[in-house]
Amino acid sequence: EWSPNEKVALEVTLGASIAGARALCSMKHVGLNVAADPLFTAAYTGVNGGLVLAVADDPGMHSSQNEQDSRYYALAAKVPMLEPADSQECLDYVKQAYGISERFDCPVIVRLTTRVAHSQSIVQTGEKADYQLKNYLKDLTKYVMLPANARGRHLAVEKRMAALKEYSETVNLNSIEWGSKKIGVITSGIAYQYAKEALGGVSFLKIGMVHPLPENLIASFASEVETLYVIEELEPFLENQIKKNGIKVLGKELLPVTGELSAQLIKEKILGVKAEDRETLAVNIPVRPPVMCPGCPHRGLFYVLGKLQLNVSGDIGCYTLGALPPNEAMDSCICMGASIGMAHGMAKARGEQFGQKTVAVLGDSTFIHSGITGLIDVVYNKGTTTVIILDNSTTGMTGHQHNPATGYTIKGEVTKQVDLVKLAEAVGVERVSIADPFDIAELEKIVKEETAAAEPSVIISQSPCALLKDVKPGKALKINPEKCKKCRRCLAIGCPAIVDQGDFMEVNEAMCAGCGLCTKVCNFKALETAAGEKAGDING
């Protein structure tokens, strides 16, 4: 099932485990920050049915706000962590993780990175094994983490880590591939694949269990090779632990702690073989940044926010693109749900006048994830922040997942839908309005009124994502060259379907979703439907 956030997801998983089932939850690196609270104490309680937490890091930040290294969570929370290097290992390691979880009575983290999570390679599947639900046993000393019990459990954690350390020395997850002993490489995950491609016939110690590390195995491998390298993406996680034991090894002296590794980079840094300089043809060519889709309901809102020159505390979603030209109507974006608390803090720091020029903007699923707590904070602490919830009936950026505000489950079954208006009212917001983002005149009026009010307010900007199946595009528009004065005001909405051809303006008809937003900003009624009719009222 979809959980509203990662903390809840891990708590559901832990509950299922204690109740006797095998359970798994998955999240990305920044989600693990949210789930860190239950994680650290789940390490104390241990499990009943096996518990696996899959977490994917994003070196290079293909679609993330930071590139933290989640391996440190295993170290800090004192739980074992496995790291697969391809699709087959993903399957094999998860199976093995359940064995480890139940044998050592602890949660197990399986860590992925983007290039493992987003790639497909050949998998030999096995037979589905029957799993009997384990008995549910009330065990207060194990599961009720009162200080007195927790002290006992911490001792159990330390004992368990010692046992896991011994286990890691011989487990098949860590393996040596002998080649030339001039160079030895200790590596794991996707970095193993890059290193293997770059260095081929050298000796490898491939670490599949990245925490706790097999110190004796590492020492014996190190003693047999001439020069030892650690090849890992992001932080010197393996390297520092190996160095701590007095083993001489090269790592981050050569390889970057930022971004992704690659076979060519490893060849260059380890072997000194630089890829030949190639004449590049791609000089001075326009970038192609992502852009809000034609027909996107967020476009109208950011046009208004830009026009009113407000301070906009932003959040995580497609709408973060509101920070890009032409509107540049977002001042900050940190993590899911942060927009509201930050807008409140900005107003507290700079006073009433500033507060009345400041809004928080976030999507419906982000609001459910962790925006609601920020809103409660605003009300409780007598703030006056205006919160704009972009309710597009889905979770757009990640690929249209349902969430508690859509009224459907992960399986598409109908369920109770969170009523955002009632929810806002229930926490004490007395000014709640619903606005149509395609009616920008009305939207502007509402935003002005609500930001001016000396109390908290919520504006729900409501219109479904243009990419949803049941949202049918309208007729494509055309620019009537006789009416168009080439003032380029239509470009202010930043629609990719409106093209500046230099001598004239043009609508890309194949792309136009017919939303009619452009007709609301054109002073000369130059945008018409293909049939020549006036197109000002397409969306009401």
Partner: protein
């Protein structure tokens, strides 16, 4: 055979995923080791997108790096130019003769590069340019551009036609199969 590296480049929303799955399936049928890799996310929203497909005896890195691609299948002309450096000197570049303006061009802040094909032809000799959209339209569905381009590419690989046919019928959903097969055939026989 040496490992064979393909890149599909285009603009978010052009449907490159289906083509990459078909290539992956065809390579599987030949008992090759295969890795298909692509990154979604921000890039999905009209941004530049790339997919890597590598197959051969044993594939380690899922990435295709500069100067390594045997074939680049460019769904859009500017993207062909952007990723040309990834092509081997004797690699093949298949370019769909379509221009999709990126935001800086739309807003007049940058110009869409002129003479892209002439430009890349100075360095690479193995280039096919085609209007895949028109061919797909003739075959019955403008959206089958990917099958046309896939057909052009398939004809240049060591994988037999019959294997490609099987892969397509396995991957393409029933009601779209006919038009995609027709589009694939048109691309396969075009050059």
């Amino acid at each position: 055979m040496d490992n064979f590296s393909t890149m599909i480049v285009g603009v978010g929303g052009q449907g490159t995923l289906l083509a990459s799955r078909i290539i992956g399936t065809a390579a599987l049928k030949k008992n090759f080791d295969v890795k298909v890799s692509e990154v979604h996310g921000m890039s999905q929203r009209g941004g530049s997108v790339t997919t890597y497909i590598k197959y051969g005896r044993m594939i380690h890195s899922p990435l295709v790096e500069k100067g390594e691609a045997d074939i680049i299948l460019a769904f859009e002309k500017l993207e062909a130019l952007r990723w040309t450096d990834y092509l081997k000197d004797d690699g093949m570049l298949v370019i769909n003769d379509q221009e999709i303006n990126p935001m800086p061009v739309i807003t007049g802040k940058a110009k869409y590069p002129l003479n892209i094909v002439e430009n890349v032809s100075r360095k690479y000799k193995n280039i096919i340019v085609l209007d895949a959209m028109s061919i797909a339209k003739e075959c019955g569905n403008i959206k089958a551009v990917n099958s046309v381009l896939l057909g052009v590419m398939a004809a240049k690989t060591a994988i037999e036609k019959q294997i490609w046919d099987e892969a397509i019928s396995e991957i393409v959903p029933g009601k779209l199969l006919k038009v995609n097969v027709a589009s694939f055939e048109a691309g396969y026989n075009a050059f």
